[in-house]
Symmetry: C2
Amino acid sequence: MADDRWTPPEVMLAVDLVILTLRRSLLHVLLIERGIEPYKGTLALPGGFLQHAEEDITAAAHRELAEEADMDVETLHLEHLGVYGAPGRDPRGRVVSVAFLAIAPRLPEPAAGTDAAAARWQRADQVLSGDLELAFDHRRIVEDGVENARAKLEHSALATAFCGPTFTITDLQRVYEAVWGISLDPRNFYRKVQKTSGFIVAAGPERKGTTGRPARLFRAGPQKALNPPMVRPVEPSIMKGSGQ
Amino acid sequence: MADDRWTPPEVMLAVDLVILTLRRSLLHVLLIERGIEPYKGTLALPGGFLQHAEEDITAAAHRELAEEADMDVETLHLEHLGVYGAPGRDPRGRVVSVAFLAIAPRLPEPAAGTDAAAARWQRADQVLSGDLELAFDHRRIVEDGVENARAKLEHSALATAFCGPTFTITDLQRVYEAVWGISLDPRNFYRKVQKTSGFIVAAGPERKGTTGRPARLFRAGPQKALNPPMVRPVEPSIMKGSGQ
DNA sequence: GTAATAGTGTCTATTAGACACTATAAT
DNA sequence: ATTATAGTGTCTAATAGACACTATTAC
């Protein structure tokens, strides 16, 4: 500690991406089948090491998003999620991974012919339940990412990131239902969303639905923080008659 | 990218601590006057490099807490805050810092005769306003830490971490007022806190106040997540008459 | 008594939650 | 007309916010 010549240990820095989207009204996460050891053949989050010593961490996340998922960062919500650096989590040595959460609107399957060829959308519930096995500590990272998204839906306009540039109120309701894993009353949802100032604003005239009455289109409003918040219904918890 | 022999760059990993407490009903943050270059003599967050290549990051945060702040980690709330790794943020090279947020009950000044000798509590508002200059990007980290604490007060029982093992409802109200920087109606606060199930539970009989009616004592309840949440009053925003 | 702090009750406006109908399109 | 989806209105119970008084101690 008083050693003049002591220098700090160095670690390898990686980024991992939890990319969430909605497909057929179900929450999905993008996973890649690893082509190299360790965990070759196992599903894992897209990600990788910093490319050079001067690369910015967020820039690395953007790069991986483009390389491994063939996605344009401009259209995506991307935010810091956490740091996963337990010794021994990677057999190659001390790897510290910075995880990011990305939210994508419904997209086609990742294009073949890129690094993303092995990428596939998988149902989030299958990952969370353990039906799908993931490499490293990536299941834990997905858990944290989903929980982060669930919480953010309450207080931010994150839900609009799951939709395209324009969307209907029903589209937005599907996002809340899929991420929270519950169903909501459309009448109360309409009322709440419309009176939450700055959340969504009218856009264009109407959408030519496949059938039924055409829906009005909206786009994301200027407000990133929702006030009042959208409230996640309390699940009838096990704590019955707890005090008071 | 297809180079077989490529190995990832390595970075130096540091931890930094934003330690918040209340002193005289004002939010304070623990800062240290740096004894070495760079930024020698400037105030900075307590923290430092990983000690060896196998040290766990959270363990390193605990160690710094003990070394630099002379605090027992058992009594403190400690959670991940963010990662700060912009190239060039540290003149010594590529340093990536994992920041932690710690909440401490009111404590005596850090003991002299330890690494913490140069540590001092400083008012958070003076840091946020820029009246106090901090080394590196530490002011930004403090901003993020305070904002994190403000948000967490709404939905978690974090406020109890600012108090000792037992506290009065008024003590708790002071925490909310100091961190949020507003004043609250004590009657409504009492009602809200008492009916938020699991937030606080009665403890011991009463406290011998210096003067006035003795207050009942409480301790932190079992519930970490508050439901319903404590709501931070909307500041009369500049957005007047913004749509409906 | 006075001063100082702790604690409670009430009234009102707003909101959340439950619930059923009307509207507009494709076929 | 039928089917399918979009959108609105009303009632009620719970809650937030404003506000004034009583309670218990030290002196």
